[in-house]
Amino acid sequence: MSDHLLSKDEMKKVDDYLDRGFKVHYVYENLSGMFVEFNRQEEEVCLQILTADARKYFAAKLQEQTLLQEGMSI
């Protein structure tokens, strides 16, 4: 898969989790990419994000979630 398609796929996964009500509760990055743990009540999933574009995208989503949690309009 091209980097572009892979990043689109990864962005879609991020959107899917967020749309389904998952919240980000843990994030770390290492040489293998970005690892995001989402949770929804008892459910927990870990997403590995490989592409640079999707890592940028995820950070923007994380900012949105943070602002929403702080009750600010985005």
Binding site: H4, V24, V27, Y28, K56, Q63
Partner: protein, 420 residues
């Protein structure tokens, strides 16, 4: 006609173009001819401890037919007696009272030596002093020049000693042969410098002769490292000026030096914080008359922009020079190829395919070879536009980002709040 006069730490000159301390300012004859040609100021060839020069002294790096892309020298400071220089400075100042004459000085790092030379040069009416802490060869082996200029404590102390007796403004000329020039610039300011100038030459060896295996240049079969200057060093010098200009502790005017060859270079240095500029290699390559185009070009530029005084552009670009971590990760540009102008040399395709992101496709349309950028894979690196030989064939165009601006620093701060 814009007002080209500058005032650098109290040193006034009719325009921002000064000759740097070097062979063009070796004698009264030369400096007077330079002033007649239009130069606004001259930093006299460095006066100081007795030296002797060698033969040969210079070498140039020519690149793809461009003569003197860079210039290498192993020349030291003046080898003429101090009294002769002082007499010529006196005469030159008398003939050109409104031009700036700055005495460049280099003595051993001893208080009495600095006191003695400062008093002597000020007695003949110089407008300012430039302390040469930058000469990278020869003098450095004797503990002066760059050897002093690489030690912040010595920069501070010697500046302080010069300032103890100086009645004219003191400019400290910094060496680029150091990891972070702001450290020595700050030291100069702590020592009381009224201004800093940069850069002196960069340690260099111009080449090795493949037939004789001698260094270039060589002195009877032996070489020593020299100092590099000319167009090739401009980006290095410009960055150093900018780093000092945006450092709040370097809160003195800057005289910009290094690879300045035309009015555009000068304007760039001034936008990045230099109050005036000094030129050496370009004058050595083309003669004093280059200043005419520099003056005309700068004048026209200011007139076209509706700017009344050249002092008004000083530092205007400094706030745009930031840290990498404060750049917007989501800003996006992509390459756009104009096939009407493109000559199908395919340099962009080769560069992108071999060394970048493989996003320029070759295709044919009605039997005609064409090139197209796959925007989704283009990272906006500029390489294709850089290698393209045809003006206007490749443009880098902005694309609205679908995600909000975010810097690396902002991103890290958000992510860190989700760490365990």
């Amino acid at each position: 006609m814009a007002d080209l006069r500058i005032d650098l730490a109290g040193i006034k000159s009719p325009n921002p173009f000064w000759l740097a301390s070097a062979p063009p300012t070796n004698s009264g004859y030369q400096v007077q001819r330079a002033f007649e040609a239009g130069w606004g100021g001259a930093v006299w060839k460095t006066l100081g401890e007795p030296i002797l020069n060698v033969s040969s002294r210079f070498a140039a790096v020519s690149y793809n037919g461009q003569r003197v892309a860079g210039f290498n020298n192993i020349e030291l400071i003046t080898d003429r007696p101090l009294e002769v220089n002082l007499q010529e400075i006196l005469e030159t100042k008398k003939r050109f009272p409104n031009h700036a004459i700055i005495a460049s000085l280099m003595v051993e790092p001893k208080q009495e030596k600095w006191h003695e030379i400062v008093k002597k040069v000020e007695a003949v009416g110089v407008d300012g002093l430039e302390l040469n802490f930058g000469c990278p060869h020869g003098m450095a082996e004797r503990g002066m020049g760059a050897a002093s200029g690489q030690v912040p404590e010595l920069v501070e102390k010697q500046t302080y000693w010069a300032k103890e007796v100086a009645r004219t403004p003191v400019i400290v000329k910094l060496t680029p042969n150091i990891t972070d020039i702001t450290v020595t610039a700050e030291a100069a300011v702590r020592g009381g410098a009224d201004a800093v100038s940069m850069i002196n030459t960069i340690n260099s060896l111009a080449g090795v002769d493949l037939d004789s295996w001698n260094t270039v240049p060589h002195v009877g079969g032996k070489g020593a490292h020299g100092g590099y200057s000319g167009a090739a060093v401009k980006p290095i010098a410009l960055n150093m000026v900018a780093e000092c200009a945006r450092n709040p502790f370097v809160n003195v005017p800057i005289s910009g030096i290094g690879g300045i060859s035309n009015w555009r270079d000068a304007a760039e240095f001034m936008l990045m914080g230099a109050t005036g500029v000094q030129v050496c290699t370009a004058a050595m390559h083309h003669g004093f008359s280059i200043v005419e185009d520099m003056i005309d070009g700068l004048n026209n530029y200011l007139d076209e922009k509706g700017i009344a005084s050249v002092m008004d552009i000083v530092g205007q670009s400094v706030q745009r020079y930031s840290n990498w971590g404060d750049l917007d990760l989501n800003y996006k540009i992509v390459a756009e190829i104009n096939n009407e102008v493109c000559i199908n040399c395919n340099k962009c395709h080769i560069a992108c395919e071999d060394t970048a992101h493989q996003c320029i496709d070759l295709y044919t349309e009605s039997g005609r070879p064409m090139l197209k950028v796959r925007e989704q894979d283009c990272v906006g690196c500029n390489l294709c536009a850089i290698v393209c030989p045809v003006e206007g064939a490749i443009s880098m165009v902005e694309r609205m980002s679908t995600i909000a601006p975010m810097t690396w620093n902002e991103r890290q701060s958000i992510i860190s709040s989700f760490a365990r």
